[in-house]
Symmetry: C2
Subunit: 145 residues, 2 copies
């Protein structure tokens, strides 16, 4: 989660919503790390998780990421949750809960339906306060003093 | 839907699950067309819809696709449905329903939650029989005679 937080802080410095993601393998080796690039790339699909999943698969030279963990500072949206399932990661670890836009513990609850053919293990709320504070500070900064 | 079906048939010829997608603008002009590239690119995220959405945004030079229609031969999965929302397409038109893996009318029902901040209009079951037959024939071919 330290690396994911670092990616999130870097994203904030680029003017992005501060979300960072890391994919590590079964031995804990980091395969990929990424921050949000939505504004820079003008691509609403360029969420940190999508970039990290794609980079990890390239690094492994495999279509799937069995045994891997996706660690992300914020609860994934439905797009990213569904991608984590399609890439067959073993576990999704996330920081802050996202009642407004999340798709794992809220709303679409992507892993909770029989239409989801691979449901990763989920560990939510990891270093929740720290992860939530980073987002809160970013949005407070946008609104100005 | 003719163009989407053409893309789906091309995908089948490449050994992909036959799904094709087209993004057109408010005047019906085609901005992007794509077929499934999951096997070719060894990328489980390379669904026809994702490729067409990204290509259309590049073609428009915009982050969003307001007024646009995503036409796809099969009910989108949750990843693609959520991406259509993030790209802010006005309408999603799909062919065959996908009770097994769909995320619009089944399972996650991505557009049906308050966590979905832009719910496109949905028109499902367009030329359903033809679209479903294409998929059925493909999978029957895989199983052999």
């Amino acid at each position: 989660m330290d690396l994911a937080l670092e990616e999130a802080r870097d994203a904030a410095r680029r003017g992005e919503v501060p979300v960072g993601a890391v994919v590590s393998d079964a031995r804990g080796r980091v395969l990929a790390r990424a921050g949000n690039r939505v504004e820079e790339w003008r691509d609403p699909g360029a969420h940190a998780e999508m970039l990290a999943l794609h980079e990890a698969a390239r690094a492994l030279g495999d279509k799937h990421l069995p045994g891997c963990t996706l660690t992300v500072t914020l609860e994934p949206c439905p797009m990213c949750a569904a991608a984590a399932s399609l890439f067959r990661v073993r576990r999704v670890v996330f920081g802050a809960y996202d009642p407004k836009s999340g798709g794992v513990e809220h709303g679409a609850r992507v892993f909770a339906h029989p239409q989801c053919h691979h449901a990763p293990e989920v560990v939510g709320g990891v270093r929740e306060a720290e992860n939530a504070a980073l987002l809160r500070e970013f949005f407070a900064g946008l609104r100005g003093p």
